[in-house]
Amino acid sequence: MNLWEAVRTALNSLSANKFRSFLTMLGVIIGVGSVVAMTSIGEGASSQVTAQISTLGSNLLTVSPGRTRGLPGMAFGSRGAANLLTYRHYTLLQAAGLPGISATLAEASSRAVLRFGKANTTTTVVGTTPSYPSMRDFPVALGRFFSNYDLERMTRVVVLGNTVAQDLFGDARPALGQVIRVGNVDFTVIGVMEPKALGGRDLGDQVFVPLTTAEKRLTGSQYVQSITVQATSPAMTSLVADELNRFFLLQLKDPEKFTVTNQQDILDTIQGVTGTLTLLLAGITGISLLVGGIGIMNIMLVSVTERTREIGIRKAVGARRRDVLIQFMVESATLSLLGGLVGLAGGAAASRIIARFSGWATVLSVQAVVAALVVSIGVGLFFGIYPAQRASRLDPIEALRYE
């Protein structure tokens, strides 16, 4: 008997007891369904978080004053921390030319009122350095960003976020070349940034000026909120972190006065959490499939007993042990696979629904689908072995005499 015929025979006998077959599959349906739903939601969430973190720029390490926590690159994260880092550290760090670092960035932000004619807006003024657009993956749309020349000469130039540009100039007038008032100082607009958002926060609602200009003309403070460096590759990040620790320890003399945050560490942490969740899910899957499998085994044992006479007849007309074994194994595998398919459909539907209501993108990966189906067939085969062996070992004459 070939496999396809065995499957047809199995479907035929499973359909003899449709409701019972359904109840038997329920364990596998729920197991596979919940795992498919959870992994697709989990994978969706984790890829979303990873994507958000990479919008901050890649391979970044941030030095912030004091002991701080938070995502790297968010200069706001270290607000209120001790004033320790200065523009001088930025220049020293650049001068040191540490290996593995491709770019360096310092930031100090403050709030200010911006005016142009009758229009005005209050926004964040980020004093920073020329590598900002490339390191933050936040390009200029119009005009240019300021250069090292501007930084050294403390020129009064400003690059506007797209929202600020809209607020001050609207659609009608071009912003470039206009002079606006930031606080009490006139600045010339030399560029407008591309629109960008981070986790729902509008990054277009800020303006950028040379750090030195901000220090001298706007804040009067020499302190920066963070210094960020970009490593040449992900593999270099831990080496660069060590270098930064050594460098700032030398400068500040106290490891408590600064913190180096590695973006890779955070990604690793998130991936670690995802990994743990995946492990947990695998555990839940394992248990639910175990329960489902035991259900299948139980029903298959009942079925073997009920069908003793059928087995006797099949053996009487020439079924070998192997034929009976295969028949019952295929039957339990079919049962389990059907459960897996229904569970897969249910889980995919559930994740769609959750995606619609939560706004998360859910990802149903091919691997998850294949794994769910392979595992459910495997469960059916594994838990079908014992009942099928019982069936195959029945003595033909005893089986025929049964009832």
Binding site: M1, E5, N12, S13, A16, R309, E310, G312, I313, R314, K315, A316, V317, G318, A319, R320, R321, R322, D323, P396, I397, L400
Partner: protein, 256 residues
């Protein structure tokens, strides 16, 4: 010519708990190719025990059983399954058809296990059903058939792999006289075409359809009788039809 069946000092002892129940107590006989042998004896005389051994469904406690010259007692389960499949056609008193399968599928079953390809299988099964007069019932389930028809399906199933011998254990036991006689007519026609047949019955009228009767009592073969003039089932059927007028013209499906 080599005998089809050669049985020597065959015994079969069952155990009711620890109490031994001897069902066969040393039986020896042979069956030649083309013979039609009836086995007769009262209930409990060991007829079924013998048939189960002859049909390779059961193994003897001692003694030797050769089928077509091959010693059976020492074979493995799967080897005996193969013999049941190809060399033996077994017809049971209770038909033993699979209730969820159609007549055609039931007849195909032995060929499935023999690995006969699907299209050929269906053709052969149809042919076998036609030979027992059931071409019109291919897609009926056993519970949609009369007892006589069900038994004919079982005979078609027994014949379909062209076995060396057809064994029947009280095949007419559950049937009325007329259906029983129709079944006997089929066995006799098989016999005329050269099949070897061993048939168990406790009814003398049925036994006299064979050429030879083995009488059993208490697990022993007590008499090996030649039948001078075997009853022809066709004559009996004719006689059954004559006096009683209102029997349906087909003479077959009205059986039950």
């Amino acid at each position: 010519m080599q005998p089809v069946i050669e049985v020597q000092d065959l015994t079969r002892v069952y155990y009711a708990g620890t109490v031994p129940v001897p069902a066969l107590r040393g039986v020896s006989f042979t069956v030649e190719p083309g013979e039609f042998v009836a086995i007769m004896g009262p209930s409990g005389s060991g007829k079924s025990s013998l048939m189960n051994i002859l049909g390779c469904l059961d193994t003897p406690s001692s003694g030797s059983y050769r089928l077509e010259g091959r010693e059976i007692s020492s074979l493995s389960d799967d080897q005996r399954a193969a013999i049941r499949n190809r060399r033996i056609g077994f017809v049971f008193q209770t038909f033993n058809l699979l209730p969820r399968l159609t007549a055609l599928q039931n007849v195909e079953l032995p060929m499935q296990y023999a690995g006969v390809p699907r299209s050929r299988r269906t053709a052969l099964a149809k042919e076998a059903l036609a030979s027992v007069g059931l071409s019109g019932r291919l897609h009926h389930r056993p519970n949609q058939l009369s007892g006589g028809q069900a038994q004919r399906v079982a005979i078609a199933r027994a014949l379909v792999n062209d076995p060396a011998i057809v064994l029947a254990d009280e095949p007419t036991g559950n049937l009325d006289t007329r259906s029983g006689e129709e079944i006997m007519a089929i066995f006799q026609s098989l016999h005329r075409r050269g099949k070897t047949i061993v048939l168990v019955t406790h009814e003398p009228d049925i036994a006299r359809h064979g050429q030879r009767i083995l009488h059993f009592r208490d697990g022993l073969l007590v008499q090996d009788e030649r039948v001078a003039q075997p009853v022809d089932a066709r004559d009996v059927l004719e006689r059954l039809t004559e006096p009683a007028a209102p029997v349906n013209a087909e003479g077959v499906s009205a059986a039950r």
